[in-house]
Amino acid sequence: MQEEKLRLEDLLESSQSSNVDDDRINNVAIIGAGIMGQGIAQTVAGMGLEVILVEIDADKLESAKAQLTETIDREIKRWAMTKSDKKAIFSRIKWETDPNAVKDCEIIIEAVQEDFDLKVSIFKQLDKIANAEAIFISNTSTLSLTKISESISRSSKVIGMHFLNPVPKIPMVELVKSLHTSNETVLKVKEFASRIGKTPVEVYEYPGFITTRAIVPLINEAMHMLLEGIATAKDIDTALKLGYNFQYGPLEMADAMGLDEVLTWMETLYKTLGEPRYRPNPMIRKLVRERKLGKKTGEGIFKYDEHGNKIN
């Protein structure tokens, strides 16, 4: 059989117009290949869009590739995904260390650590590289989008998209509008959210939005109970899981989120809202000081084996 690289125009004398919908988002860049970046990449690629995952540290990029492979293999092993899902996802992710790779993307999602200066410097750099129409999305859970967006020229095209971990499994995303976000940007990003299988919830910019603001005091309170010796960590989680039909208890949830992350949220909320209910419990400070950060380090409030399973 002959195999030719032909285009439609080569076959026809006059080509028919290909009315591809120009508004459609097909290329998404994600900056930062940590847990969130990997999860967003898996979700977006899983829905058939092309993804460029940028991580300037080549070693981190390599280990992210290995981690995502491991995450998906674990899902295949528990029958929740298939090998062809994995193949399709990896075929749509390009792994890059060069930020210039994002220049043709329609959406750029920043998923680096929760550090204002870092996020601003990344957006400033990308503002010069990216297509003028590209929408910039920040995955911040507590920082001011208005302030972030004011640092660059395209402030009307900046919006927050607060994904929750594990991204592929949480069917919701908070869309956070800054003072400058245009309606057009909101509409486009809403459509994008639906396309990647997430129900968008619109939130006005305010520290912690809905999810972080509500969960942080719950985690803090659970830690207070633990510290005061009211019950064991396991029993606190069990009581809330069974009593209120939570899928996870607040303490195992904090371990899964990373105690350093949770501490940062608590500090931000305490600093910006001033209420004592957000003041970090001494126990979380101690655990973070000891680098017992939860599931990712093998120990936090609970202990974990090398596969991340809780050791009872």
Binding site: E3, E50, W79, A80
Partner: protein, 399 residues
């Protein structure tokens, strides 16, 4: 009449261009990996002329443009002008309760298909995309839809209702729909032809065994019952689908393994069946070779697969009050003589006597001459049914 038959999947379009007067496919092919890197069209003309075209095929509309492009091309084509396509026939998976036969596609029909998306979330959206692409590219060409569910739409309530509160049927249309209808229709009619009898006088059991497997009781030319149900998951064991099981074990597994609804769906649809039991493959050819190598789990997979079919044949013979013919079709049904042999083993008591040699030689009638029940192996041709239905609808409209 020359009809373009399209079978649009989520990332592929299969097509055949059929002359309904001669029943010959003038061209056929496949556009694969739509919307992905490495998209390709493979086209084959009736005279064996072949070509593969790689391109940036972003969506179904561009895919249909490619199909037309290659059909019109000087070196590989079969038509000189778009007008040479008299009609387009689309395969549509789910017609819901609305359609009991093929229909001329109007905006209202598309609207009903959209309403049925919930019933076939994986299949109906690409089917609709294929229709809409043709509406834009071939606006003056009549289009028809043929439904996988249509042939089963006349099943009696005792076959299609489940033993759950009746309100759920009224509220959410939960009932047995059945699938592969076009194939069951084609092979049952072909069986009647081979027997030289009117299908209205026959009781036929048709087993479509391919990637998905279903079996139907065709009494007097109508589908009386079929093994696939509300979705194509019920019934026979399949390559990666479980088929029949105790519904409460789904809840039990979800609890034990911590699976969500979507994950349980993946478990039953993608990790079960032949691959789940054998741990080897979802492909019957590989299962058969593993059976030869004496691999126990592959043997079980083969035994469960064939045993289920045997049980359904018994059940449907009882349901119809007898059986005149058993038909095997689909990739496995047509090609795996071991499956046909195992299914028909020790069925002499009900008049099924397979002729080993005819089975080996893959003849059309593979039972012994004196077998009361005729066993047949009939290659299915769903595209031809779609083309003929389309031609019939269009020529009646032109009268």
């Amino acid at each position: 009449m020359k009809v373009l038959v399209l079978n649009s999947g989520s990332s592929s379009i299969k097509y055949q261009f059929i002359d309904t007067d001669t029943k010959i496919a003038l061209a056929k092919g496949l556009v694969d990996r739509i919307g992905m890197a490495g998209a390709v069209l493979s086209h084959q003309r009736y005279d064996g002329n072949n070509i593969k075209i790689a391109g940036e095929i972003l969506d179904h509309q561009i895919a249909v443009e490619y199909v037309l492009g290659v059909m019109l091309s000087k070196n590989h084509g079969v038509i000189d002008d778009k007008k040479d396509i008299d009609a387009v026939g689309h395969r549509v998976v789910h017609g819901g309760e609305t359609f009991s036969g093929s229909v001329f596609v109007t905006d209202e029909v598309v609207k009903v298909l959209q309403d049925n998306i919930e019933l076939a979330p994986l299949h109906n959206p690409p089917n609709i995309k294929g229709i809409q692409a043709c509406q834009r590219i071939l606006p003056d060409t009549p289009q028809c839809g043929t439904f996988d569910t249509a042939f089963h739409s006349q099943m009696p309530p005792k076959s299609y209702l489940y033993g759950i509160p009746y309100e759920l049927y009224k509220k959410h249309k939960i009932r047995r729909y059945g699938f592969h209808g076009t194939s069951h229709l084609y092979v049952s009619n072909r069986a009647a032809e081979l027997l030289g009898k009117d299908i209205k006088d026959l009781k036929i059991i048709t087993a479509h065994l391919g990637n998905g497997c279903s079996i139907a009781a065709v009494k007097n030319g109508k589908s009386m019952d079929t093994s696939m149900g509300f979705t194509p998951l019920e019934g026979l064991l399949m390559g990666t689908r479980s088929g029949d099981l105790d519904p409460s074990l789904i809840l039990y597994i979800m609890g034990k393994e911590g699976l969500t609804l979507g994950e349980a769906n993946t478990l039953l649809n993608k990790h079960s069946g032949l691959i789940g039991i054998s741990g080897e493959s979802s492909d019957m050819r590989e299962i058969l070779s593993a059976v030869k190598d004496n691999q126990q789990r592959a043997k079980w997979a083969f035994e469960i697969f064939t045993y289920r079919i045997k049980k359904y044949i018994g059940a449907y013979a009882a349901a119809m009050g007898g059986v005149d013919a058993v038909v095997f079709t689909g990739g496995i049904g047509e090609n795996a003589k071991e499956v046909r042999e195992e299914v028909c083993k020790e069925m002499e008591y009900m008049g099924i006597e397979l002729d080993e040699l005819k089975n080996q030689n893959a003849e059309e009638i593979i039972s012994k001459d004196n077998s009361n029940v005729k066993v047949m192996r009939i290659p299915t041709n769903e595209e031809l049914v779609i083309a003929l239905d389309t031609a019939k609808i269009v020529s009646e409209m032109n009268k």
